[in-house]
């Protein structure tokens, strides 16, 4: 089994799907000749040429709209639109929310929108308030969109291949700090279906729910907690919309306690929705209110010390776990 970086796993997924289906193409800022701002599209332009690997101007709303139009045309194309980061994709939210998410519904199914918008999401390191935003909650808010957030090279490849093959618009959110993260990726083809979460670590005392970069924070907390005799289960929903409710509820029924860890702001977040569902569906199984650890409810500070304080950390997760365990 190969050990790949997440950027390589994503690159493989794109290349395999381009080989499999001549309708798959990718466009975005610097994806072709420069091999991608984060080198995710390394070598693709050379291999597939100008028609299938397309450099765009710095016009997020424009090329998002072109992609949506191409997907809707019903001519068998499946665009992948790379956003250099999701901070920049905010310019394209009208296209994504008002067009990609709505076309299938408003045309009574006559138009399908098989498109993937992908790129890094969430704070990285000292990029300032405008470039340090975790926006998955905004995307997951919108009916008509699928939102996927991989946390390992294995997941990234299998999930992106499913995203490309899906006939609905998929928001695929990666992490700048994770592109270099390595992990095992099997050689043959495999798919990870939309809407299927994964238990990253088994445990019995508390369920820690986290995705993308926060999975590592949760696992670190779980390892520390183990030293104190607390067995934490780490659950990665992988797809945020539709949510793998079955997996989450089964885990909470087992552990009776849940802590949600997310990069994003706390107000009306994906974690808010997960907490609500746990409280509603598993109410009689809860021994404590569900806890949520979020990024601080402020624009991200640039100062390194304040930035660190504003982000979820294993220490904050450990404290929350102890609160739900009344320890």
């Amino acid at each position: 089994m190969a050990i790949l970086q997440i950027r390589e796993a994503i690159n493989q997924a794109i290349a395999e799907e381009m080989d499999r289906d001549p309708g798959v193409f990718i466009m975005g800022e610097e994806v072709a000749q420069y091999n991608g701002a984060y080198k995710v599209t390394q070598g693709l332009w050379k291999k597939y040429g100008d028609k299938r690997v397309i450099d765009t101007p710095i016009t997020e709303a424009g090329f998002a709209g072109i992609g949506i139009g191409a997907a809707m045309a019903g001519i068998g194309v499946r665009p992948i639109v790379e956003m250099m980061t999701w901070n920049f994709a905010i310019l394209a939210f009208d296209q994504i929310i008002n067009h990609a998410a709505k076309a299938r519904y408003m045309s009574a199914g006559q138009f399908k929108v098989p498109i993937v918008f992908r790129g890094p999401n969430g704070p990285a390191h000292m990029l300032g308030a405008q470039h340090s935003q975790a926006l998955e909650s905004m995307m997951a808010h919108v009916p008509g969109l699928i939102v996927m957030t991989p946390s390992t090279p294995y997941d990234a490849k299998g999930m992106l291949k499913s995203a490309i093959r899906d006939d609905n618009p998929v928001i695929f959110m990666e992490s700048e700090l994770m592109y270099g993260q390595k992990g095992e990726v099997p050689d043959g083809e495999y798919l990870i279906p939309v809407g299927k979460g994964d238990i990253k670590r088994e445990g019995t005392d508390v369920t820690i729910i986290a995705w993308t970069k926060m999975v590592a924070v949760a696992l670190k907390a779980a390892a520390e907690l183990e030293k104190e005799g607390i067995s934490a289960e780490v659950l990665d929903p992988r797809t945020l919309r539709p949510l793998d409710e079955e997996l989450i509820i089964a885990s909470v029924k087992k552990t009776n306690r849940a802590v949600i860890v997310e990069d994003s702001w706390p107000f009306a977040s994906v974690g808010t929705e997960i907490a609500h569902r746990i409280h509603t569906i598993a109410f009689d199984h809860l021994d404590a209110p569900v806890e949520k650890i979020n990024g601080a409810d402020v624009p991200m500070p640039y100062a390194e010390n304040l930035e660190h304080e504003a982000m979820p950390s294993p220490e904050k997760v450990i404290a929350a776990v102890k609160r739900v365990l009344y320890r």
Binding site: N256, D284, L286, D287, Y326
Partner: protein
């Protein structure tokens, strides 16, 4: 991170505990699970273990001091850690008796058992476990924030129900009235028995058992050997066997269902200085007389020494209360909730009996079964008594 350890609720009726002895000093390191103190609850003297590992940074109460459930005992953390934030919460010491109720404390010290009529704060899981086990959650004091009853509180109670059944000894009148403050155990007895007698529809069935063969049987068992089987042992064994044969009599009322226990765990009322307590003989139906005798002796000794652990005096399914040794002919006992029945055993008396149409000298014992009519109907109780009587009148059946 330093954590404050609070006085735990060591029995379901405990409101405060007395620190008998500190096994550790401030500054010593402790491991989670290590005994740090001996604490006297309203039921027993118990060893208290540390919940966390670390250094004992602060010990709040002195030896001999009474501490309310939920008030701080110790702070455990890393050596040299700043614990001023944890110190600021005023340690709620036990109020002096007869003190006026103090203003509600601002600190979130758990309230002991919740007052009637107030909303019970409990986690949904705790409520569900309590309901499934027919436990009144209002009677449990919570250890969570603001006195919330959480899973561990119900589970520690699932050690079980508690006390008492048989009537207390008669008060002898003295010249001048003397006022005796209620002990913890007395309060518990008062509360639980009042609750039982006023909320459970009791009815009573009395049967007279010929003890002729049982006396011969006992004499032959005790003839020369090391074992000394008491009549009480025979009664417990016969009751346990009869319960196994009549599972409906071994049941509890569970609000919206009846719980047939299956296991036969016989509580035995034991008089102690302050009142009485009911240690439980587990699986009495599956134990031989010698074992029943030995275990009962051990439990009774522990009860008198205040050494019973909660799991040893809770969660029985049926109680036997025997006042035969006081020459009581018969009496009716109060059910020990959530059990469904209690057997009150009188003395063995030499009486004329009619045998084959002839009046002859015989020995009989009267027993009275008190039943919770919500669970046990007259016929079910009567069938249990029939089985019980048949066994004691043909003690060879105990060998089966």
């Amino acid at each position: 991170m330093a954590t404050k350890m609070l006085m735990p609720k060591l029995s379901d009726t405990m409101e405060e505990g007395i620190i008998l002895k500190w096994r550790k000093k401030e500054g010593e390191s402790v491991k989670a699970g290590e005994v740090i103190a001996d604490i006297q609850s309203d039921k027993a003297d118990m060893e208290q273990e540390a919940y966390d590992s670390g250094v004992l940074l602060k010990i709040f109460p002195k030896e001999g001091e009474g501490v309310k459930v939920g008030a701080p005992l110790v702070i455990i953390g890393k050596a040299g850690e700043d614990v001023t934030a944890l110190l600021s919460d005023a340690p709620a010491k036990a109020a002096a008796p007869a003190a006026a109720p103090s203003a509600p404390a601002a600190s979130p010290a758990p309230s002991p058992a919740q007052a009637p009529g107030t909303r019970v704060k409990a986690s949904p899981l705790a409520k569900r476990i309590a309901e499934e086990n027919a436990i009144d959650i209002a009677a449990i004091a919570g250890s969570g924030p603001l006195g919330r009853v959480v899973k561990r509180d119900v589970e520690s109670r699932l050690g079980g129900a508690v006390p008492s059944a048989a009537p207390s000894a008669a008060v002898t009148a003295s010249a001048a009235p003397r006022e005796v403050p209620l002990s913890m155990m007395r309060k518990t007895i008062a509360k639980r028995l009042l609750e039982s007698k006023t909320t459970i529809p009791h009815f009573y069935l009395t049967a007279e058992v010929s003890m002729k063969k049982a006396m011969e049987f006992r004499a032959s068992l005790n003839n020369g050997g090391d074992v000394k089987i008491s009549f009480n042992d025979l009664v417990v064994k016969a009751a346990a066997t009869a319960l196994r044969q009549n599972p409906k009599a071994n049941s509890s009322f569970g609000g919206d269902r009846i719980i047939e226990h299956g296991r036969v765990d016989v509580s035995i009322a034991v008089a102690v200085d302050e009142g009485l307590i009911t240690p439980v003989l587990r699986n009495a139906d599956r134990k031989g007389l010698a074992q029943i005798s030995a275990e009962t002796k051990e439990l009774a000794a522990k009860a008198r020494d205040g050494k019973l652990k909660p799991e040893e005096f809770t969660n029985g399914t049926f109680t036997v209360s025997n006042l035969g040794m006081y020459d009581v002919e018969s009496f009716a006992a109060i059910i020990n909730p959530p059990e469904g029945a209690i057997l009150a055993v009188g003395s063995i008396r030499a009486v004329p009996v009619v045998e084959n149409g002839q009046v002859t000298a015989g020995h009989t014992m009267k027993v009275t079964l008190s039943c919770d009519h919500r669970v046990i109907d007259g016929a079910v109780g009567a069938q249990f008594l029939q089985s019980f009587k048949r066994i004691l009148e043909n003690p060879a059946l105990l060998a089966l």
